[in-house]
Amino acid sequence: MVTRDVSEELRELEEAKATWRWWEEHYEELLAQYPEQFVAINKDREVVASFHCLPDLSDAMDAKGLAFGKDVDAEFITANRHWRL
């Protein structure tokens, strides 16, 4: 275990967690609009695209010059909450 200045890393991590919480809080309304789709949101948390498969979403973001992580985040929105992995 090491200790060092991790302020920037912590900021990135907290930002990612905050965005994840937003997905959690808005999941039901997203599910009503975009069932079984990959949904991309920008930094203002506006939906910018939705596709039924990840490669199509990826191509669309590339075409718009939007980078995952930097400009947009994405999640798969599904009514199926159960897995047997």
């Binding site: 275990m1 090491v2 200790t3 890393e9 991590l13 994840w20 985040d73 994405a74 798969f76 992995l85």
Partner: protein, 141 residues
């Protein structure tokens, strides 16, 4: 102590780590805690969205035989790509714990699945899970 949470939408325990793979800087990735998985795997959506890997890199045809592994699960056999990885955990007191391991990259058909933290990492921790209180903690042994 590393704190995670129960996902409201999935009802499953998750923990965040910063994951670095060759050629990519560490990025935050949420992992479902899966004590039934012997290895950890980052599935296609997280690989694309969080690690910024091209979807072409998730096609098994692009992988060498040496890095391609076959894993059997309840749904059948799945191919994945094994690579070196560094997991950086942030403890609640701000300290870091770095673990060098391998990780598997799921093929593009894993795109709907969450990434999994398996026993290769979890064996290093005492795990406390209690959904009623929302407790998800990993304690170093």
């Amino acid at each position: 102590m590393i704190s995670g949470y129960f996902s409201a939408r999935w009802g499953c325990p998750f923990v965040w780590t910063r994951l670095a793979i060759p050629g990519r800087p560490p990025q935050p990735v949420p992992f479902l805690i899966d004590t039934g998985s012997s290895t950890s795997i980052v599935h296609a959506k997280d690989a694309r969205v969080r690690l910024n890997l091209a979807t072409d890199a998730m096609e098994p045809a692009a992988w060498t035989p040496e890095e391609t592994v076959r894993r059997r699960g309840v749904a059948g056999v799945a191919l994945s790509r094994q690579m070196e990885a560094t997991f950086e955990f942030t403890h609640d007191d701000g300290s870091l714990q770095t673990i060098a391991e391998t990780i598997e990259l799921g093929a593009v058909d894993s795109q709907q699945l969450p990434s999994l933290m398996g026993w290769d990492l979890l064996r290093r921790f005492r795990i406390e899970l209690e959904q009623g209180t929302g407790t998800v903690t990993l304690l170093p042994q």
